[in-house]
């Protein structure tokens, strides 16, 4: 490797469920690279199916999309994706970790677990994005992100394929932004310019 891996100045954590694959494809295709932040994604997937998702998204994205590995340092410019049947957590030392702890909101991986641990580790340097989904996972995590000074962006429930997840977050938390997927992508591309 020619350059020392860069610790991200902030992390974007994304939660997606029902309809999430299409939304993530759009988002990752249009997100500009290279950036100064890292992206960590929890998506609810069928646990029996081997995860082809990182490969699928890698083909469309402008940067490296990988399935998160346990104890892997989070590096700016990378996109990390959850594994079915494992929670994905952010450690205070800037690494990722997995657990098989009980499902949260009937989900493993759970968006709440990712958001809460990211908030604890990165404080106000977290942007949480809640995309389409048919349950309320992510709502409690988004609250923690706000408490620790981070920002929360939510996909407009009207345009999300399943609106329950965005709605639950908006109901429980004073979020920073509600908009179309394209508008969220613009906001995220904007982060790179401010830091």
């Amino acid at each position: 490797m020619n350059t020392v891996p860069k610790t991200p100045s902030c992390i974007v954590v994304i939660g997606a469920s029902w309809g999430g694959i299409q939304a993530l494809r759009t988002l990752l295709t249009q997100l500009r690279s290279p950036f100064c932040f890292a992206v960590v994604i929890v998506i609810h997937q069928d646990r029996q199916r081997a995860s082809q998702l990182p490969q699928l998204l890698n083909d469309t994205a402008a940067f490296r999309v990988v399935e998160a590995a346990d104890k892997e340092p989070i590096v700016a410019g990378n996109v990390y994706i959850s594994t079915p049947n494992y929670h994905l957590l952010v450690e205070q030392d800037g690494t990722l970790s997995h657990t098989i702890d009980k499902p949260v909101n009937y989900c493993r991986p759970s968006v709440d677990v990712l958001f809460q641990t990211a908030a604890d580790a990165f404080g106000d340097r977290v942007v949480a994005v809640v995309l389409t989904g048919a349950n309320h996972d992510g709502a409690a995590g988004a609250q923690r992100v706000k408490q620790r000074g981070g920002k929360v962006f939510v996909q407009n429930p009207k345009e999300a394929e399943a609106k329950a997840m965005p709605l639950a977050t908006i109901r429980d938390t004073e979020v920073d932004f509600i908009g179309s997927l394209e508008a969220i992508i613009d906001k995220l591309n904007g982060i790179g310019q401010h830091v």
Partner: protein, 275 residues
Amino acid sequence: MPKYQNDEDYDIHALLEVIFLKWGYDFRGYSKASLTRRIFYFLQEERIDRIPDLQYRIVRDKSLFSRFIKDVTVNVTEMFRDPVFYQSVKENIVPQLKTYPHIKIWHAGCATGEEVYSLAILLEQEGLLERSTIYATDINRSVLDRAKKGIYSDSYLQQYETNFENAGLKGHLSDYFEKGYDHVIVDSALRKNIVFTEHDLVIDHVFGEMQLIFCRNVLIYFTRGLQSKVIDLFSESLDFGGCLCLGIKETLDFYEHKGKFKTLDPNNKIYQRTR
């Protein structure tokens, strides 16, 4: 840079130090994010407001400490978790096990025992259970008691039956159970060669020379430093040619002495000790 990120981080570290000093259980090498989550969950369950309060009480109240061990150590498991892994065990490990007159197996971190019985069923189908001894260990005595009884709620049975089929085994999982009202009991024939005993991977030592070690989804709860220490322990406990099976998110890639092992199945994390 300060050693602790914030007061909460400091409180957790202090709690773990005190527990080690008083009770000899060492959680200091556990991954912090998930441990912290489970400790806060424990506070809620016990209606204790703050970690310093827990710290004060836990050195004075043995039953509180027992509940702490029970709740804070992880005990989630299932039958034939990752069915493809069990297929790989059949292909990559069973032929070699058949060459031994007696087989010693260590199942480290067995929790409530679902995966121990899964392995026992596989061995039974291969005609190996009769000459095997499985040492099933865990840090948590209360889950070991449940493992020993072999009684499980039938609410996950459908899932386990699907796993069983996908693992490519013969017959039905229900062939190995006696059905109760809302639970099932594992066939006593499966249980007779299993020894359940307490063992803490962090502080306890080698207790025998094994032909196979199962330790699945335990290392993910440890930091890299502690993972290395535990893999040293496994390495010392394995016969030459013996196999080590980890969870699918675990790896020996980072391990300093990984040259001691050959990778038999990179996807299912099956390793063989070669020197």
